[in-house]
């Protein structure tokens, strides 16, 4: 018995020493593995303890277990037991963290196949979100160098949320806008540069507070909060509580604290590193991250850095398509309730879109789809720039169209700018997309308000009538209520009110007074 106890003690000591020994050997083994290229994949990094344990314990059987889980997942999907799918998908990705194809399939399955069988838009959004989270929070954690995952993630934003193919697409857009609005606020432009300069960790944050560190810690003590709890409260409310906010302002550290907590929030929950976002904005121009195309562009841009061959083209395509969408409707005017999101063109992006197309054509040749896409963009750009009052720029774009050697039907562009725009508009009027219809109507309403400011009431009425005609024409194409919900325009009066608000914010006070005076005549 005594011997057994001695053996037991020795065993315990040995068991305590063993992990330390293994850890040393394991690190060395990983270095040898990488240096001598013994395996095709890099050792896992950033993996949680549970995953490391299962990875090591199960060894080669992980694949087998993942297969069984995959079969169960398919089985559950067929029998509509969706409640297990998120869990099973997570387990599969954790068991086979390097198998990015499986992660992409599982995310697509949830975002596309499962979401569409749900009736309520909030249920659909939950499944789309599960797909996004699986790629962003699980698969990407272990495969930061896999461009396919970036592209797949961008695709969910661009296609599933951004397009009008899903009946609940508006709900998705509003839900995304609401989520991002809580973090980045409702300003016309958010200062991503400031966020990118925010401290990266809690230690850096406390160091950055310098002399105010102890005062800050005292605030935490008085509020009975830790730094993590304060971060949780901040994320729950989207801001500091009034009392904390007041104390931070008194210490003059409100801005730095606010930036730190927002930047951490973006990094932790959305993987949006403000420094990377800033770099994207610097390259392409300002993008509103409450809109899906900004996200798709961001992820495609990250993928582009790593992609090769076909995937490189796909990422570039996603970039110019997202930019084009942002140009057409990248300025968020307002969102409301669960189904109303109203945007207008972000005309400042036109050069960025043009450059993106040109760069792609230079690198990969002007394939048919890129050239026709470019041509369509240029025509849209001329119309939008013209209708939004940027005639010089529109003229410049039309000139470029005329000079393009690849375009065969040149006679179409050999007209005066106004004649070209009117011709294209009348052609398009019967075949307009939601974005085009919306931007055209908004541009015409803006023209009407500009005319009012110039005391040209009759001209304003003309623009107003034309806008109504385009609106009526577009809405007459709606087949039923579901179609209206999917791709219909907001009420005309609503559009007018929002454009008036926007227009007022862009003109000086004396012109605003003229507008207020004259608009009554216009309304009569």
């Amino acid at each position: 018995m005594k011997m057994t106890k001695q053996y037991f003690c020795i065993l315990c000591i040995f068991m305590m020493i063993l992990p330390g020994l293994i850890s040393t050997i394991h690190s060395k083994m990983n270095v040898i593995r990488t240096q001598n290229k013994l395996t095709t994949v890099e050792p896992l990094e950033n993996a949680p303890p549970m995953m490391v344990v299962t990875t090591i314990m199960l060894g080669g059987f992980r694949g087998l277990l993942a297969d069984i889980l995959f079969l169960r997942l398919q089985n559950k999907k067929n029998s509509e037991n969706f409640f297990e799918m998120v869990q099973l998908s997570e387990w599969i990705v954790n068991l086979q963290p390097r198998f990015t194809g499986a992660a992409s399939f599982l995310a697509w399955n949830m975002a596309y196949n499962v979401s569409v069988v749900c009736k309520a838009p909030e249920d659909r959004w939950r499944w789309v979100n599960h797909g996004i989270k699986l790629l962003r929070d699980n698969a990407l954690t272990y495969n930061l160098s896999d461009p396919l995952l970036y592209w797949e993630l961008g695709w969910l934003y661009q296609h599933k949320i951004g397009q009008v193919l899903d009946d609940a697409n508006r709900y998705y857009k509003v839900a995304l806008a609401k989520e991002m609005h809580r973090i980045i606020g409702d300003g016309d432009e958010y200062f991503w540069n400031e966020l990118s300069l925010a401290p990266l960790s809690s230690d850096q944050f406390l160091l950055a507070l310098k002399n105010n560190r102890s005062a800050f810690e005292e605030i935490l003590f008085k509020e009975k909060l830790t730094l993590d709890q304060l971060a949780l409260h901040f994320r729950r409310d989207g801001k500091f509580s009034d009392s904390v906010s007041l104390k931070l302002r008194e210490l003059n550290i409100l801005k730095i604290s606010d930036n730190y907590f927002r930047a951490t929030w973006l990094r932790d929950e959305y993987r949006l590193d403000p420094a990377l976002v800033s770099a994207v904005l610097e390259k392409y121009g300002y993008l509103d991250f409450r809109l899906p195309e900004s996200h798709s562009l961001f992820w495609a841009h990250q993928g582009l850095k790593l992609a090769e061959n076909d995937l490189h083209i796909k990422c570039e395509r996603m970039i110019f398509q997202s930019l084009k969408t942002a140009f057409n409707s990248g300025k968020l005017l307002y969102f409301d309730g669960s189904n109303t999101v109203n945007t207008m063109p972000n005309v400042t992006l036109c050069d960025a879109v043009r450059n993106a197309y040109s760069d792609t054509m230079k690198r990969h040749g002007a394939g048919n789809y890129i050239l026709s896409g470019y041509e369509n963009f240029m025509i849209d750009a001329v119309i939008i720039l013209y209708t939004f009052g940027l005639k010089e720029k529109a003229e410049q774009y039309l000139e470029s169209l005329r000079d393009m050697p690849e375009i065969s039907e040149k006679s179409r562009f050999n007209k005066a700018l106004s004649a070209f725009v009117i011709d294209e508009l009348s052609k398009d009027i019967n075949n307009m997309s939601l974005e085009n219809a919306q931007s055209t109507i908004q541009a015409l309403i803006l023209k009407a308000y500009q005319s009012i400011c110039l005391h040209e009431i009759e001209r304003a009425n003309g623009f107003d009538m034309l806008a109504r005609k385009v609106y009526k024409n577009y809405m007459s194409k709606m087949a039923n209520e579901a179609d209206i919900n999917r791709r219909g325009l907001p009420e005309f009066q609503h559009l007018k009110v929002r454009m008036l608000q926007y227009f007022r914010s862009t003109i000086p006070e004396n012109i605003q007074q003229v507008l207020d005076r004259e608009i009554t005549k216009f309304n009569q």
């Binding site: 509509e80 799918m85 998120v86 869990q87 069988v117 009736k119 599960h130």
Partner: protein, 438 residues
């Protein structure tokens, strides 16, 4: 005097049974493998409860937790029951401890029955403890998760209520819907475009005015096996028994997905009858198919969740009794390793034989000799074995479907009363014949 002897004899038998059962429980508790499995069950459940997240809804979380914890517990306890059954029976025989027992006025059958009672008693206590633990933890976790109110309402309405299922009367197919079709093993009802199909239900209970009943169904385009499903338009017409008129509920639903709509209590007549009809208004002018297994069914709240929960636990307990019978019988006939091999093989064959049904469904003249032989073997083994999944009713609990006493009784009669008793008696017979002195 004679009757007093008989009472004393019965008491003696009971006393010996109880003594053997108590000794068995003590022996089981001393088994290291049992202790290990018990710890695995406890820690496994704690791990599952802590790590499972569900699909983000209260219903999803509840369903995944109930499903995983009870599947895990049920199968591990069944394994424990087999192990303990073999261990207490074969162990006593191998170590000759049985001779001490049989030297007393105890019959071999009594010995086996006492062992069975001991193992079952221990399993019952364990299962009850774990079920209470899971139930309490489940509700505690649900409260801590702070799900939105509408989510909790959905959970209460769809899961935390035990609703009884009512099927439509047979032979109530009305024209102009076409006849039923056959597709594989499934009976389908086809509703061509712009036609309707009527279903009658009877013997529905009397409901209060504010009560609602749920209509559950699933329809398909083309075929139930086709992935090509989409949204479709249609109208459910509900008969008002007062004026005999049908009132419409127009719907747009996704085919291939289970649908549920609430109907008012007034739709049920005073005699407990309900008439509904579906009119196909599909925008793609396609026929709708409804497999009979997919309804339509009427669900009416019948009992509490607690009642249903107890019934589900009871079914798991039946599984453990059956596993114990197999274990004890095998243990009484073979040495410990052989007994475990035999008992587990028997149960695994019982599960696997179900999969042979799709390959060899029925004997027909078109089958060749080998296939016919395989079919016969499949049927024979099917009669001799039991599929443990018969005891699995957790999915009914998760869907908020009332676990009928009739279902429990049928499973009990079929598995324990018939199969279990037969196996036990056969084992006892051979055990009587077995020479234990060697």
């Amino acid at each position: 005097m004679k009757s007093s002897d008989s009472v004393t004899g019965k008491r003696r038998i009971m006393n010996s049974l109880v003594s053997i059962a108590i000794l068995t429980v003590q022996k089981c508790l001393r088994s290291h493998i049992f202790q290990l499995v018990f710890i695995v069950i406890l820690f496994g459940n704690v791990f599952l409860i802590l790590s499972l997240e569900g699909d983000g809804t209260a219903v999803g979380y509840f369903q995944i937790l109930v499903s995983y914890t009870f599947s895990f517990t049920g199968y591990l306890l069944a394994f424990t029951a087999i192990w303990l059954g073999c261990f207490v029976a074969a162990g006593d025989i191998d170590k000759k401890q049985i001779q001490m027992v049989l030297s007393k006025p105890v019959m071999k059958v009594q010995f086996l029955l006492g062992k069975l009672a001991g193992v079952c008693l221990l399993q019952f206590v364990l299962l009850s403890l774990i079920s209470v633990m899971i139930g309490l933890t489940l509700f505690a976790k649900l409260n801590r998760k702070n799900y939105p109110d509408h989510d909790i309402q959905r959970l209460r309405k769809n899961v935390l209520t035990a609703s009884r299922r009512y099927s439509p009367l047979a032979n109530t197919i009305s024209t102009p819907a076409r006849d039923e079709l056959e597709e594989g093993q499934k009976r389908l009802i086809e509703i061509p475009i712009y036609t309707f199909k009527t279903w009658n239900f009877n013997k529905l209970p009397n409901l209060e005015k504010n009560d609602t009943l749920q209509l559950r169904y699933r329809m398909y385009l083309n075929s139930p096996n086709s992935d090509d499903q989409r949204s479709t338009q249609g109208i459910w017409w509900i008969n008002n028994p007062l004026d005999k008129m049908y009132y419409p509920i127009p719907l747009v639903v996704h085919t291939g997905k289970i649908q549920e709509i609430s109907l008012p209590a007034e739709a049920v007549s005073s005699t407990g009858e309900l008439k509904i009809r579906y009119e196909n208004q599909d925008q793609g002018t396609q026929s709708m198919l409804i497999p009979q297994i997919d309804g339509p069914f009427i669900f009416i709240p019948k009992s509490s969740f607690g009642n249903n929960y107890v019934r589900m636990v009871l079914m798991i307990f039946f599984k453990l009794i059956f596993s114990s019978i197999i274990g004890i019988t095998a243990g009484s006939l073979f040495s410990l390793p052989m007994a475990i091999f035999f008992a587990t093989s028997y149960l695994i064959i019982g599960v696997l034989i179900v999969f042979m049904r799709s390959t060899f469904p029925e004997i027909s003249g078109s089958l060749n000799f080998l296939s016919q032989a395989a079919c016969h073997i499949r049927m024979l083994v099917g009669y001799a074995t039991i599929d443990l999944r018969q005891f699995y009713v957790t999915d009914l609990l998760m869907r908020g479907e009332f676990i009928e006493l009739s279902k429990i009784s049928i499973v009990f009669a079929k598995t324990i009363m018939i199969h279990g008793t037969l196996i036990f008696l056969t084992g006892s017979y051979f055990f009587q014949k077995r020479e234990l002195g060697a």
